[in-house]
């Protein structure tokens, strides 16, 4: 193989048909309230972890739906499981349990 001094960029586009959806499917089954999340960001606004790290539970909830799960294991470690997010959720999504279920799913499918 020839080295031309550059490599072919990886496509940033989410290829939904080939996305790894095992985590969202597991979480949706175990914690069905994820389906009614409005992705409003109230959880992230109040998040104890999110105020001091780049942890973003709203983003994680959305990202796993489209199979964007890179660094997920490291990301969810930042959650302190305090439950403030659940308190503010306008739709009663069990956000805290979503983190626990993501953790389970990672163990099942990615370890």
């Amino acid at each position: 193989m020839v080295d031309f001094g550059f490599s072919i960029n990886k496509d940033r586009q989410i290829d939904f048909d080939n996305a790894d959806r095992r985590i969202i499917e597991y979480v949706a089954k175990e914690e069905s309230t994820i389906a009614i999340c409005l992705i409003c960001g109230a959880c992230t606004a109040t998040c104890s972890a999110g105020n001091f790290t780049d942890f973003n539970i709203r983003k994680i909830t959305n990202m796993i739906r489209v199979g964007e799960i890179e660094n997920l294991k490291e990301e969810i470690k930042k959650c302190m499981l305090c439950g403030k997010c659940q308190l503010v959720c306008p739709r009663g999504v069990n956000t805290r349990n979503i983190i626990l279920k993501i953790n389970e799913a990672i163990k099942i499918f990615h370890e």
Binding site: M1, V2, F4, G5, F6, I8, N9, K10
Partner: protein, 343 residues
């Protein structure tokens, strides 16, 4: 795919294309990239169609590459273009035909700007007068060179020595058409067939016997992108764009690609070689690449011109598979000789 649906859209995007007396302006880069193409254009128009085409020796770059590469300001670009108009006016021509898609896009952008902001036009007239003493008239008709070949596609078909048909099977060749971004994405009404389903190359291919492939990444850029390609470190981005297109067209098993821009055939052709060298991946049949052509080269092949006169030996992805299918004769030994002589 419903052809009637496309036809209805094509109807909405008809443009006027002058039928004679062209002031032809060459591209900066095409003579290096595909050296036979502009010569073939002139030969087809002058010898086959008996048209009056004039080239001015003082024509310069339009600055489109510099303008899109962020090194030439718009005022400068407009003044240089005004000078081209002046050359045309002085030569007694009114119908401007640029060979380059980016020139065509830039000329269109400038004419539209002047249309909406006449004070800008007046300012540029003043600049040109001060700098060169020249004056100009706005072209009566602006058409890209591919528009002109499109206009005469039937006349060319009538003189055809070869068709875009596989001689052995009698089937139409499957053709991918790739339109340069600056042809109609900026001003859809200025392109034959508009921006979403351009008809300019499709019309030629249909007329010359080929079958068009409409694949999902048809509208994606070839990856030239001026600023992107020019820096080596950015070329991975450029090549990824071409690769996205190849991956998308591969299932349709295209026989060839035809383009109307200076950069697109360059990148679609050369990057196939690069991808092969980097990843071992090829997109054509039998481990070969998909041959890439300019529309003038295809018109030339249809008219029976010698492939090496058209400069096809300068392609990095070999054209022979298409020549064989079309039944175009060529002297194998001459190809290498011509390349060595060129080197």
């Amino acid at each position: 795919m419903k052809l009637e649906g496309k036809k209805a859209i094509w109807k909405d995007y008809q443009k006027e294309i002058a039928d004679d007396k062209y002031f032809y302006v060459r591209s900066c880069v095409r003579q290096n990239f595909f050296p036979g193409s502009e010569t073939a254009f002139l030969k087809i128009l002058r010898d086959e169609l008996k048209k009056d085409v004039y080239e001015h020796p003082c024509h310069t770059t339009c600055t489109g590459i510099g303008y899109h590469g962020d090194v030439v300001p718009f005022d400068t670009a407009m003044t240089v273009v005004a000078r081209q108009f002046a050359l045309m006016t002085e030569s007694g021509y009114e119908n401007l035909v640029p060979s380059c898609i980016t020139s065509f896009g830039l000329y269109t952008e400038i004419l539209e700007t002047w249309h909406h902001f006449p004070e800008t036009e007046n300012k540029i007239r003043e600049y040109l007068k001060k700098a060169t003493g020249r004056e100009f008239k706005i072209p009566k008709n602006l058409a890209h060179a591919s528009d002109v070949i499109f206009k005469f596609r039937k006349e060319i078909a009538a003189k055809a020595k070869h068709k875009l048909i596989n001689k052995n099977t009698g089937e139409s060749l499957k053709v991918v058409e790739h339109i340069g971004c600056h042809y109609s994405k900026m001003f859809p009404s200025k392109g034959v067939g508009g921006a979403e389903y351009p008809y300019v190359l499709t019309g030629m291919i249909e007329e010359w016997g080929g079958e068009i492939i409409d694949y999902p990444e048809r509208r994606h850029c070839c990856g030239f992108g001026f600023r992107q390609y020019l820096v080596q470190a950015n070329r991975g981005y450029s090549i990824a764009c071409s690769k996205k297109k190849f991956d998308s067209m591969e299932p349709y098993k295209p026989d060839m690609i035809i383009t109307n821009c200076p950069g697109c055939p360059m990148f679609l052709d050369r990057w196939q070689y690069t991808i092969k060298e980097m990843e071992g991946k090829t997109y054509g049949q039998n481990g070969e690449g998909i041959p890439v052509f300019t529309y003038e080269e295809v018109a030339g092949l249809v008219l029976g011109y010698d492939p090496w006169d058209l400069g096809l030996q300068m392609h990095q992805t070999d054209c022979e598979p298409v020549l064989d299918k079309m039944g175009v004769g060529y002297d194998k030994s001459k190809k290498r000789e011509l390349i060595i002589n060129n080197e």
